[in-house]
Point group: C2
Chain length 453, copies 2
């Protein structure tokens, strides 16, 4: 689902029209970054680059788009002709998907004609906001779940179909083991998982009949939902089915607890299952779970093997947006030099100039701190922004989703342990280089002149 080319804020096009008339050759650099981490978050996980690249590469204004814009009586024929031939011809640098990042660090940097850079704004923000917010939330759930598997059950409560598909992708990238969303499984080659609903159990004369029907059809892959009427009786019925399957040479895959006190019920279920020799039957828990509830369940050593996580991850309920912004940092004529600039609005000051983020490593490759610096500075460490598009052409090999997933795992292990706790208050150090600081104070004293008429 590539975004529609008219998925822009109107002001991007009216500003583009003004640039077109006044200084269409002006170049600019824009930074996409998160101003502040949401409350309770110690890090973010960058995601969405694959979609950003496909959007930028494919952005064209078709005949229908131009016709609609004409009806707005805002644009000149010359500008509409320009849009008809629009291609992005600039440069894009970005962090690889799956990179852990922090407030103030650009994750995408666009240098192009100011028109091109401006037109990308809303769609880039929308794409990165969604994918990164979800990956960041999912990473917390994965960390809380430790060695247990976690599955995406969020389709029914995500904000639309696009969000549902991205929830499956972002959560898999962050370490989830699979999704219930069949379309996402197909699109991204993610393992598809499923159990049964209460309505299924209720549509049979008895719970046992419903379990037997399901397990007859999926003898090696049945996860029985045991809480429709009474959980203890449900477990008993599941045990009976487990024994029937065993006699036929199959293993009941699991039972699912979806309500009540998960800690107590999981213990009860484990005892009952083990007593009957069904030690291999896994216990799945679901029902309004998040990283905090999972951590609490596991801290009490509840014998849960897998968690299904829906709404709280898929709508990132405790942080349903990122403070993601797209700000100009350089501007200039194509012949002259691009000059650094910054915003001075109360409480909304931005970092000027063309920047790089450098991650400093210590012994055994442990991450120590990040430095936000100007690109031309030489700082010893790992530069996080990579060249992705050069003069409109892709110069970067997008990694597979599975390799992004591996990258997330190895990377998280290199940060201080205190960063990855569910209730972490650790603030990973991000320094601003001296050169960048100096540039900022120069601009802060000169830029206000621009408001003088």
């Amino acid at each position: 689902m590539k975004p529609h080319s008219l998925l822009v804020d109107l002001y991007e096009l009216t500003m583009a029209q003004a640039y077109f008339n006044y200084h269409r050759d002006t170049m600019a650099t824009f930074d996409l970054f998160v101003r502040q981490l949401p409350a309770g978050r110690s890090f973010l996980l960058f995601a969405g680059l694959q979609d950003v690249v496909s959007y930028i590469k494919g952005l064209r204004f078709g005949v229908g788009d131009i016709a609609f814009l004409k009806t707005q009586r805002l644009f000149t024929p010359a500008f509409l002709r320009y849009l008809k031939d629009f291609r992005f011809r600039g440069d894009v640098w970005a962090m690889p998907e799956g990179t852990v990042f922090f407030a103030g660090e650009p994750v995408i940097r666009v240098t192009s004609s100011i028109i091109e850079g401006q037109i990308l704004e809303s769609c880039l923000l929308n794409t990165v906001n969604l994918a990164t917010m979800l990956a960041s939330k999912a990473a917390r759930v994965v960390l809380a779940a430790g060695h247990c598997g976690v599955f995406d059950f969020s389709l029914r409560r995500t904000h639309g179909q696009d969000a549902a598909i991205k929830a499956a992708r972002s959560s898999y990238l962050a370490g989830f083991s699979g999704t219930s969303n069949v379309r996402a499984a197909q699109l991204y080659d993610i393992p598809a998982v499923g159990t049964m609903a209460h309505s299924f159990v209720m549509s049979f004369k008895s719970e046992l009949d419903s379990f037997r029907a399901y397990s007859n059809i999926f003898p090696g892959r049945s996860i029985l939902l045991v809480d429709t009427y009474d959980t203890k009786s449900g477990i008993k019925n599941a045990i009976q089915i487990g024994k029937e399957l065993k006699r036929r040479g199959y293993r009941l895959l699991g039972i699912r607890l979806d309500s009540g006190d998960i800690v107590c019920l999981a213990r009860l279920a484990r005892r009952m299952l083990d007593r009957e020799g069904l030690t291999y039957v896994k216990i799945f828990a679901s029902g309004n779970l998040d990283e905090f509830k999972i951590a609490r369940i596991l801290s009490k050593s509840a014998p849960v093997d897998n968690f299904g996580v829906g709404t709280n991850m898929g709508a990132s309920v405790d942080a349903p947006y990122l403070d993601v912004i797209y700000k100009i940092s350089e501007v200039g004529s194509p012949r002259g030099k691009l000059l650094p600039t910054m915003k001075l609005s109360a409480g909304k000051v931005t970092f000027p100039g063309r920047k790089q983020v450098v991650r400093l490593c210590g012994k055994k490759g442990r991450y120590l701190k990040d430095v936000l610096a100007l690109e031309k500075e030489s700082i010893y460490g790992k530069p996080l922004l990579k060249k992705v598009i050069r003069r409109g052409s892709l110069r970067y090999r997008l990694p597979s989703l599975k390799s992004v997933r591996r990258y997330v795992r190895t990377q998280l292990a290199r940060f201080p342990v205190s960063l990855t706790h569910v209730r972490s208050r650790y603030s990973y150090p991000v320094a601003v280089s001296r050169t960048l600081k100096r540039l900022m104070s120069q601009l802060q004293s000169h830029l206000p002149e621009r408001s003088q008429s």
Copy 2:
């Protein structure tokens, strides 16, 4: 953007396979409703029916879908052939879009073969959750804004493109005056609006140059952003442009305040503008606004004319999901009778039987209370559920978006005023009919037998 036919939870298809083998002719009724209102909400506004209808009518499984499902090694060839010819052939009843509703009231009721009803589950929930959550939030913003206009600026922070488009539609339906989202404006014929960004101001040598460039091109439609450097200077520059436009016979449309103390700055701007005879120039406010901030700004009589509302509405930040569920309420063989059923899980009990919601009116058409009743009961009032699809065919004329918008306005005026306050704690009465109560207690004593093996 019709949802993909594989946008289902895997369990819907595995359950369908089991139904197909065991009782493919079984009929069932499912209710879609919100279990509990989100904290701080006194009502919800139903939206999403247009998409639900287009999804149900268009739901087909294509060759590629079937091929993918085959790779899952879960489904029989006979079932996959059934899916190939799948059509929804059942009945759908629903509230009209824009209807105010409350917890426990079905907004959609599906009666069909149990397979068909089950396959719709996740996509219906996803669609209604998004559109209704957004319309409900937007209605609160509109109520808080009173006579001021409100515009949707949420594209950059909604959960993906689908959510962005639905945010524009749902907020317009709820009474917003326009959107910055060009694609949504095109799709739904919503007025498109736009101002300018800080980057635009910063790309010119001076703020005044940037204002002049913009207003030269859009002389009758310029809204100047005055807070890039210093708001007071920005207002002065806007006034100079306003006077230049006036001499040329144009009116400066407005200025926009996007940071700082909106109440003080709006008063300052109004005084400065009025002193120069620019009494017609409107003041727009934006920047992290929601219904609470708007109510506070207006309670201090700040002279703001229009509000731009983004993230807080578009991601429904304080209630980023609804407790929307889809539950079976009747089941039976096609030849026998459909029998009422209900769920007994701890804390998750549902209402059985085929139901109607009746709204009771008093003098001058004021709404008094709702009654949740069985369909066959005769209760004097306005039945809210209407026939939409009968045996697979559309039997309902979907109203235009503009008429839904009018319906919302007239309807809200008929509820008690206390319902529509921003901090309303009023709980509109929803009664359960005696007959329905009796049915519930009968089932509560008999259903547990089903868990006995």
